[in-house]
Symmetry: C2
Subunit: 194 residues, 2 copies
DNA sequence: CTATCAAGTATCGACACGATACGTTTCGTG
DNA sequence: CACGAAACGTATCGTGTCGATACTTGATAG
C-alpha cells in the first residue's frame, strides 16, 4: 500500500503535465510556447508592483536571463508593451497590449476545467483546493520562493473603509480591483490560530 | 467572486510548475532535464506491455520523434537499456539499468511531499486525490489520451485466485507485483453504480 | 567620486519539441 | 505469394527554452 501523499503527488504531476501539453496545443495557432502563454496569464493578473521581468522570473521559477528572451519575443509580436519606470530607470514595466488580451480571450481556459470538475461538489472542490494551497505554500516557503497571492490574503493589506484599501508596505492606496490581483510582495496572514 | 474550479485550476497549474522546476533542479547534479527524469520514473512503473518508446510518448503527451531523442540520450548515458522485441521486430523494449535505478533513488522524491502535506489529514488527502483523479480521467478521455492506470483498477484485470491474476486482453497471467504497475492498455472500470 | 549592488540585456551552448521524411516490420486482401 | 497499408522507430532540421556568464545601465552608500 503506497503512501496516500505519494498518490496525490503523482496525480498533481500528471495533471500538471496534461495542462502543459494543453497549453502547448492551445498556443500552436498563435505559434506560442507554453511559457509565453504563462507569461501573458501572469501579466494579466499582476498588480502594479509585480509587472516586471524580475517578478515574472520569480513567479515562473526561472532565471531573469531566460525570461528576458521570452519577453523579447512577446514584444516583437506586439503582445506586450515595455516602457521604462518613471522613478527607477533600471526597471521595465510590462503590460498586455490589446492584441495580447485578445490572445488570452481566444484561449478560453475556463472551458478546460468546467466539464472536468462538474461532477465534484463545491464542498469537495473547496476542500481539495485548501489541501493543495497548503502544499503550495509549504513548498514555496521551503524553496525560498515568493507566494504571489492576492492582496486580500496579504498581511500588508489594510481595509480602511468600504472599497478602500492601503498597502502597509508601500503606504499607497489600492482600488478594490487592485486588491484582487497578485503581488510579488505578498506575504500570507498567519493562520496559526484557526 | 471567482469560480471555485478556476482557483483549483490555478493552484494545480502552479503546483505543477513548481514540481517541474524542482525536477529541473534535482536533475542538475546529473545534468538531466525534467523530461529525462519523467521518462525514468515512467519506466520504473511501466509493465511489460508499456515499456516502449510509443507508450512513453503517449504517456507524456509528446510525439514519438521527440521522445526518441530523449531516449537516445538516456541510452548514451547507460541509464536505460534498449533491445528489440522477440515477437515483433518493430518494437523496442526499454528497461532501467542499475545505474538508472540508482539515479531515481538519489532523487528522493518522497521527501518532497512528506512535509508539504503533513498538515493535512488522511481523509482530506483522500478526498482531494479523488477530485483530481476524476479531473485527470475526464481530461484524458476528452483529449483521447490513455489513462495509464494500474491493473488493479482496470476492467481487463481478472482476479482468478489468491495472488493470481490474468489480463483479459492479452490472456496472460500476471504476478501480484505486475498488477500494481501502470499499463498502456488500461481501461478504468465503470463506476456509474456508486 | 567611487565602490557596490540591482535590473535588465546579450551571447553561447545544450537540448526539447514538432514536422517531415525515411526505413523496417507486420498484417490484411486479393 | 505479392502488393499496399499501417505501425514502430529513427534521422534531420528549424525554432525556441533554459542556464551560465559577461556586460550595460542606473541607484545607493560611504
Amino acid at each position: 500500500m503506497k503512501n496516500q501523499a505519494l498518490i496525490l503527488l503523482d496525480t498533481v504531476e500528471r495533471l500538471g503535465n496534461l495542462l502543459r501539453v494543453g497549453l502547448r496545443q492551445a498556443g500552436v495557432a498563435q505559434s506560442l510556447q507554453p511559457i509565453h502563454l504563462q507569461a501573458l496569464l501572469y501579466l494579466n493578473e499582476a498588480n502594479r508592483y509585480s509587472n516586471t521581468p524580475q517578478a515574472l522570473a520569480e513567479y515562473l521559477g526561472l532565471t531573469k536571463g531566460t525570461v528576458s528572451q521570452s519577453l523579447l519575443l512577446l514584444a516583437r509580436r506586439r503582445l506586450i508593451a515595455r516602457h521604462a519606470d518613471e522613478k527607477d530607470g533600471r526597471v521595465v514595466r510590462l503590460a498586455l497590449t490589446d492584441k495580447g488580451k485578445e490572445v488570452l480571450k481566444e484561449l478560453g481556459l475556463i472551458n478546460v476545467w468546467r466539464d472536468a470538475l462538474q461532477a465534484a461538489s463545491p464542498a469537495r472542490l473547496s476542500s481539495a483546493t485548501k489541501v493543495l494551497k497548503e502544499a503550495l505554500a509549504t513548498l514555496q516557503a521551503r524553496n525560498g520562493h515568493r507566494t504571489f497571492g492576492v492582496c486580500v490574503t496579504c498581511r500588508h493589506n489594510l481595509h480602511i473603509g468600504p472599497r478602500s484599501y492601503v498597502c502597509g508596505l508601500t503606504k499607497e492606496k489600492l482600488s478594490s480591483r487592485e486588491v484582487s490581483k497578485i503581488c510579488r510582495e505578498h506575504s500570507p496572514v498567519e493562520e496559526n490560530a484557526v
